[in-house]
């Protein structure tokens, strides 16, 4: 179940990524697409704000994506 929760995040983000970009006008700019940046973006989006999430790397996920499993529940990090 936890694993699915993990991928829940990934999927929602995938959706975020796929929503077509509107005019260059948003409410919040989030710099950094690690776990923290993603969570902030998701929250803001569900609270009705338009969010720009930018990362200097080619994909989002940050360091957490590099971790195999994460403590203290040892579930999958993605």
């Amino acid at each position: 179940m936890n694993q699915e929760n993990g991928s829940a995040l990934t999927e929602t983000v995938r959706l975020l990524c796929r929503t077509p970009g509107g005019p260059r006008f948003g409410d919040v700019l989030v710099v950094g697409g690690g776990i923290s940046g993603i969570q902030a973006s998701l929250d803001l989006a569900s609270a009705g704000f338009k969010v720009y999430l930018i990362d200097r790397g080619p994909a989002i996920g940050g360091r957490m994506a590099q971790l195999d499993k994460t403590f203290p529940t040892n579930d999958c990090s993605m």
Binding site: N2, E4, N5, S7, A8, T10, E11, T12, V13, R14, L15, C17, R18, T19, G22, R24, F25, G26, D27, V28, L29, V30, V31, G32, G33, G34, I35, S36, G37, I38, Q39, A40, D43, L44, S46, A47, G48, F49, K50, Y52, I54, R56, G57, P58, A59, I60, G61, R63, M64, A65, Q66, L67, D68, K69, T70, F71, P72, T73, N74, M78
Partner: protein, 942 residues
């Protein structure tokens, strides 16, 4: 990121987008180009432990899962090659792409650039980069991971053999003043090391794991238990010593020397040494700071005021995650929600203006029609397609009963694919849909909307999970995986044919929140919710707001706690959107997300409060010590009492010749298997204060592990510098306290065995302060019962998921923050309170919430009113009501979570879970068991 202009509410940020030289719309993630690319380079994602190509996909589950070309490309460097362009069938390669600048206008900014793992080469002390079998913990994460360079089999770099003896070296780059290292504690490495040990033992139960440390910092929720779990595994040793990495043997084993108090220095060989590297500020911190005009702290992390831990020095620019200092994932996540809340406060008037509403066509009634099933099989980029033969699966699906249409898709969840599904459903007159892709947990809501768009009831939908249940776990057995995918699809089709249309409820959301508990967490949360435009009822049991913080006077990080608490309380009282109820008690609580009804008795009399969200911020209690003569001898205080006595300037405390503190009183024991997190820092804080006020006083702190994680480590070191003496004791041999008569006076004597000296030390204490544990509030079980939320094994309130939903309960609409969740420091409490406020605001921003149709229903005829189901239900969704035919169970569909526990208990089968009816499930099971049918079909299709 290039430039930032403007101010809070109106920033213009100029961004520079690097070209990926691959057209996002065209790339399918097939990786043909990667196979052909001749330019090898070390794969940064795998910590350089494996090779990658100039054109590649960042990692297997990367988002977006499309290729990109990096700087090692031969064409970009030397204008030759262009092989990828030739081999890409989708014509996705585009070398004409140029860096793009775009200016965006935003009201607020959140900085979450994270951290950088420490590179041990910076100190040159650990043999990293020189000895093949010395790796960092970050490298080791990749070595363990299925998508890593060794495909999940742990193999050591020198010869690819699985290591049997592995050592972890703690605090690499942390807690050290030596040049090239950092002074702070990185806070995550103790626990991630235990995780790595547990996972290593999963991979290879024979592996012997040794952890070299100096203090195991298990200060987080569930960490202590986690640590014990690691320590209890066979062949796992925790050794309290930093080590010297001496060199390697002829066979490339790493030689390590360490010191034990009992046996002196020992030399030992390990097959692999893992350096538990700490966190550093991100490489770009300085540049970011300059661009955004924000201040950094001396160690290079973002500077934050402990009272406003989510705020940078520039208004409108917030910070979340490890950029504000070392922290773990749970904290990064609630800090993120908190930063979101801070933006929400700033921009509450803008909310929703840029978001769009969706309107669906009216629903067709197809219940009487024959099932006409459409099947869509998703490649998930390469995630599924690389393993499962997708076209063959589509072909197979076409032959299944009731299936009238089947096709493959690259990303079924992509907007264009979802539109395609809707269009085809309309065109082909489909009335049932099966999407064979990933887990329904995440995408089911999306596809249900797809059905709505097609004018179908959203419950005519079934997801076949051929990714998590198939391609990800059987990546090496492609044929078998394809066969399994067919089985899964067949079962889903069978079930889909039986599905019934269900009704969902839309519930209005009552746009108010009830915050239970008026401490710093509750007040902060209330203020933030109010600032985001909603009404808040703040319910406090005591006479006044402030909670535990009213008893605190100083803090390690320099926060003026009394002033902060006063300020919060004043702002709460002055806020027109917050109603405060003091001396209040919850009489009853009922309702559900969006529509709670809570009755309270308070100074205002009896009130009935309607609210859409509930926040539990009830804090915790303190243990009343039964040990160490507390309560028998006036000189024995708790740490908190000591702090109060210092603040009052009590002479017996300030004038004491010696103050002794004993840590871990009442926790980290068999009864309470957790660390109270705050008391080590509290001891250091008070010791420091005593030394300031009376430098001649001798202050001794008797501890087990100093939990001064993060920047608190520096305070620990400073306290030692000021002469505070730290004496460690083993839990098996705790200190002894006695009152002895000497020279006609009673002397309070503390006796402890110092493990390094191997001698017993006696201290005559003028004052003895006990670090009494933080314990769950006495009324936590009652509150939990009232609001139908859960408590964890330690008795603190239990969040829905430690990492993914750290500030909410499994019960929808109920949130938590502060010490009710677990002991924590004020800045952490404040962050979490903002986090909860962010989640509450996200809920209250909606006018309605939707309750699922997949809930239980009672067939009254069969119900005998026995009440078994009521006992089984965790959510209190079932009640007995009197009917003409006698007492019958009735389900409140809004409270029902559809977990079906009651179904199993009902002796007469009177209670059914809609969407998971016996017939639906049986059809699915029959299809699974129908192996013969599947064989023949397989042959036909293959």
């Amino acid at each position: 990121m290039d430039r930032v202009a403007g101010e809070a509410g109106d920033f213009t940020v100029t961004l520079l987008r690097k070209p990926r030289y691959v057209l996002e719309e065209k790339c399918t993630g097939c990786t043909t180009c990667v196979e052909y690319c001749p330019a090898l380079c070390p794969d940064a994602f795998n910590q350089g432990l494996s090779q990658s190509k100039a054109i590649h996909i960042h990692y297997a589950q990367a988002i977006p899962l499309i290729a990109y070309i990096d700087d090692s490309c031969l064409y970009l460097k030397e204008r030759k090659c262009r092989i990828c362009e030739a081999v890409c069938k989708n014509r996705a390669i585009d070398f004409r792409q140029k860096p793009e600048t775009l200016a965006v206008n935003v009201g607020a900014v959140i900085l979450a650039p994270g951290f950088e793992p420490y590179d041990p080469r910076e100190s040159g002390r650990y043999g990293y980069g020189r000895l093949a079998n010395v790796v960092t913990s970050m490298d080791f994460e990749r070595l363990m991971c299925a998508t890593g360079p060794t495909e999940g089999e742990i193999r050591r770099p020198s010869d690819g053999r699985p290591p049997r003896r592995i050592a972890w070296v703690q605090c690499v780059g942390s807690r050290r003043v030596t040049p090239g290292e950092n002074r702070y504690c990185s806070a995550v490495c103790c626990t991630y090391t235990q995780k790595q040990v547990i996972l290593t033992k999963d991979h290879d139960p024979e592996a012997a794991c040794t952890i070299f440390h100096n203090d195991v910092r298990s200060f987080g929720k569930d960490f202590e238990r986690f640590c014990e779990r690691a320590a209890r595994l066979p062949d796992v040793r925790f050794i309290r010593s930093y080590v010297s990495i001496v060199g390697e043997t002829a066979g490339s084993n790493v030689v390590v020397r360490y010191a034990t108090a009992s046996e002196g220095v020992r030399e030992e060989e390990f097959d692999l040494v893992v350096l538990s590297v700490g966190m550093k500020p991100p490489a770009e911190a300085a540049r970011l700071a300059e661009r955004f005009g924000i201040a950094l702290d001396p160690s290079g992390f973002c500077r934050v005021d402990p009272a406003h831990p989510l705020q940078t020095s520039r208004p409108g620019v917030f910070v979340s995650g490890a950029f504000a200092g070392p922290m773990d994932i749970p904290e990064s996540v609630f800090a993120a929600s908190g930063a979101g809340a801070r933006c929400g406060e700033l921009l509450s008037r803008r909310r929703g203006r840029l978001a769009r509403e969706r309107v669906f066509p009216p629903e067709k009634d197809v219940a009487a029609e024959e099932p006409r099933v459409g099947v869509f099989v998703c490649h998930c980029g390469a995630n599924i397609g690389r393993v499962v033969d997708v076209p063959a699966t589509v072909e197979y699906a076409r032959g299944l009963p009731h299936v009238v249409y089947a096709q493959e898709q690259l990303f079924s969840c992509a907007t264009n694919c979802a539109k395609e599904i809707t269009a085809i459903a309309r065109e082909k007159g489909l009335n049932r849909l099966v999407v064979a892709a990933c887990s329904p947990r995440t995408l089911e809501p999306l596809f249900r909307d797809t059905l709505r768009e097609a004018g179908l009831n959203p419950y005519f939908f079934e997801m076949a999970n051929i990714r998590e249940h198939c391609s990800w776990v059987h990546s090496l057995e492609k044929d078998a995986a394809t066969r399994k995918a067919r089985d899964i699809v067949r079962m889903s089709v069978a079930r889909a044919s039986r599905l019934e249309p269900l009704k969902e409820f839309t519930l209005p959301v009552h746009k108010a929140a009830l915050v239970l508990g008026g401490g710093v967490a509750g007040m902060t949360c209330a203020l933030s919710i109010a600032a985001q435009g909603h009404l808040v009822h703040l319910v406090e049991r005591g006479e006044d707001l402030g909670g535990l913080a009213r008893r605190l006077h100083t803090s390690l990080d320099g926060m003026d706690i009394p002033a902060r608490v006063r300020d919060l309380a004043e702002r709460v009282y002055a806020n027109p959107r917050i109603r405060v109820y003091t001396r209040a008690r919850v009489v009853s609580a009922e309702g559900y997300i969006g529509n709670f009804l809570t009755r309270i008795a308070s100074d205002r009399g009896e009130s009935e409060i309607r609210h859409g969200a509930t926040v539990i911020a009830t804090g915790a209690d303190l243990y009343r010590p039964a040990e160490y003569r507390y309560g028998q001898d006036g000189r024995v205080l708790t740490l908190l009492e000591l702090e109060e006595a210092i603040a009052r300037g009590e002479e017996r405390v300030l004038g004491a010749g010696r103050t002794v503190m004993i840590q871990c009183v009442g926790c980290r024991n068999a009864e309470r298997t957790y660390c109270s997190r705050i008391c080590c820092s509290a001891a250091v804080k008070n010791a420091r204060r005593l030394k300031e006020l009376n430098p001649a006083m001798d202050v001794c702190i008797l501890y087990r592990d100093m939990m001064t994680y993060g920047f608190r480590e520096e305070a620990y070191r400073e306290a030692a510098e000021r002469g505070v003496r730290f004496i460690r004791f083993e839990p098996e041999r705790p200190p002894r306290v006695e009152a002895v008569a000497e020279g006609g006076a009673s002397v309070l004597r503390v006796v402890v065995d110092d493990p390094v000296l191997g001698r017993t030390l006696a201290m005559d204490a003028g004052v003895l302060a006990l670090a009494a544990a933080v314990v769950p509030a006495a009324d936590a079980p009652e509150i939990a019962g009232l609001f139908k939320v859960a408590l964890g094994p330690d008795g603190f309130f239990k969040e829905a998921h430690v990492k993914l939903r750290p500030v909410e309960f499994a019960t929808d609409g109920v949130f938590l923050c502060g010490q009710a969740h677990y002991p924590k420091h004020l800045p952490e409490t404040i962050k979490q309170a903002y986090g909860a406020a962010g989640r509450v605001a996200a809920l209250l921003a909606n006018d309605t919430v939707v309750a699922s149709g997949a809930v239980c229903e009672v067939l009254e005829r069969r119900c005998i009113g026995c009440g078994s189901c009521i006992a089984a239900c965790t959510y209190g969704a079932i009640r007995i009501s009197e009917t003409k035919a006698g007492p019958k169970a009735a389900v409140n569909p809004v409270l029902c979570k559809g977990d079906g526990l009651c179904n199993a208990k009902c002796p007469t089968g009177a209670i059914v879970l809609k969407h998971f009816t016996d017939e639906e499930l049986a059809s699915q099971i029959d299809a699974a068991a129908d192996a013969a049918a599947s064989e023949t079909l397989n042959r036909k299709a293959g």
